[in-house]
Amino acid sequence: MNDTTTAPAQGPTAQGLTALKLFLIFARIGVTSFGGGLSGWLLRVFVQDYRWLTEEEFLNGLAIAQALPGVNVSNMAVWIGYRLRGGIGAAASLAGIIVPPAILIVALAAVFSSLRNFELTHLALTGAGAAAVGLSLVMGITAARRVPRRALPVAIMAATFVAVAILRLPLIWVVLIGSPISVLLAARTPR
């Protein structure tokens, strides 16, 4: 077992991190994340750049954020904010990821009809979107690499991939049926 899981709620690396800073970081991600892949951004910033969370902690949070209803990235904002700075941290992170981009999207809508006619806008967004796939792919690789090399977890990962990517089953059924089975099997497996 990774010993970071028993560390106190605020690791030494996150010292000096205020709620305001959390707000600003989430706001920055919120207004610059063209092309999607927001969870990949969070992995990049919180784990790889600032090292405020370990890969393990991040992936555990992401797994829970995905299993619960709700938008993954706002769930992650609450999870990360709470983990690093408690209730105020959760509120600041959430406000950062929602409010500034919400204002921006309304502003964009106001100029959209003129923006849309520029071919360059479309080309730049297509290129940024392609680059943003990298953030998601890195997150996928990281998550897959951290799945224990045992038959059961690997089989569950593969089955989930096939169900969603190939069979195109609705995510809600994959989560509602796949997750409880996987958790039950994990609980019964001696570690």
């Binding site: 899981t5 927001l38 969870s39 299993a67 709700g70 792919l137 997750s179």
Partner: protein, 178 residues
């Protein structure tokens, strides 16, 4: 509360709880409610706001904010945003507290161990679908794979990477590569 704002709340708050696996799963339902049931927008208007939400940075579910704004101005945007994010936030917040309180408990470890392979499979599937539906042909694919390689091997800033992708694609297009 004016009737229209109440309607926005009644439509979007239940949809919030149906967003299992991510916000994109409810777009079809949003379309049905907004266009077919309530006639707040025409199908063409909906396609427009959907395109803006895909183009803009931030969570894709801000689509709902935009619908609120189109339907009832700033109060509409605020009510719609609270409705789509609010109900589920209570769930994740309660879970986060529970997790902190029982850190390292046996059941917590089992849940994490069980959910992680499912999450990994879902993320990889999402990337697979993204790569398949990538606009811009081979050039876009090359940008996506280069971006992955750069992220894996360097500490490059993600904003610079996005700008690079945008620039390379625009130049490549001008040179006739895409």
């Amino acid at each position: 509360m004016p009737r229209l704002l109440l309607d926005l709340l009644i439509v979007f708050a239940p949809l919030s709880l149906a967003t299992i696996g991510g916000g994109q799963t409810i777009v079809a339902d949003i379309h049905r409610q907004v266009v077919d049931v309530h006639h707040w927008m025409t199908s063409a208007q909906f396609v427009d706001v959907f395109a803006i939400s895909r183009m803009a940075p931030g969570p894709g579910s801000l689509l709902v904010t935009l619908i609120g704004w189109e339907v009832a101005g700033v109060p509409g945007a605020i009510v719609a945003t609270i409705a789509i994010f609010g109900p589920t936030l209570v769930l994740i917040y309660a879970t986060a507290r529970l997790w902190a309180k029982y850190r390292g408990a046996q059941w917590q470890i089992a849940i994490e161990a069980g959910l992680r392979p499912v999450a990994a499979g879902m993320i990889l599937a999402a990337v697979y679908v993204l790569l398949q539906s990538l606009e811009g042909g081979l050039l876009a694919l090359a940008i996506a794979l280069s971006s992955t390689a750069i992220l894996l091997t360097t500490r490059a800033n993600a904003i610079i990477l996005l700008c690079g992708g945008a620039g390379v694609f625009a130049i490549g297009h001008a040179l006739g590569l895409a």
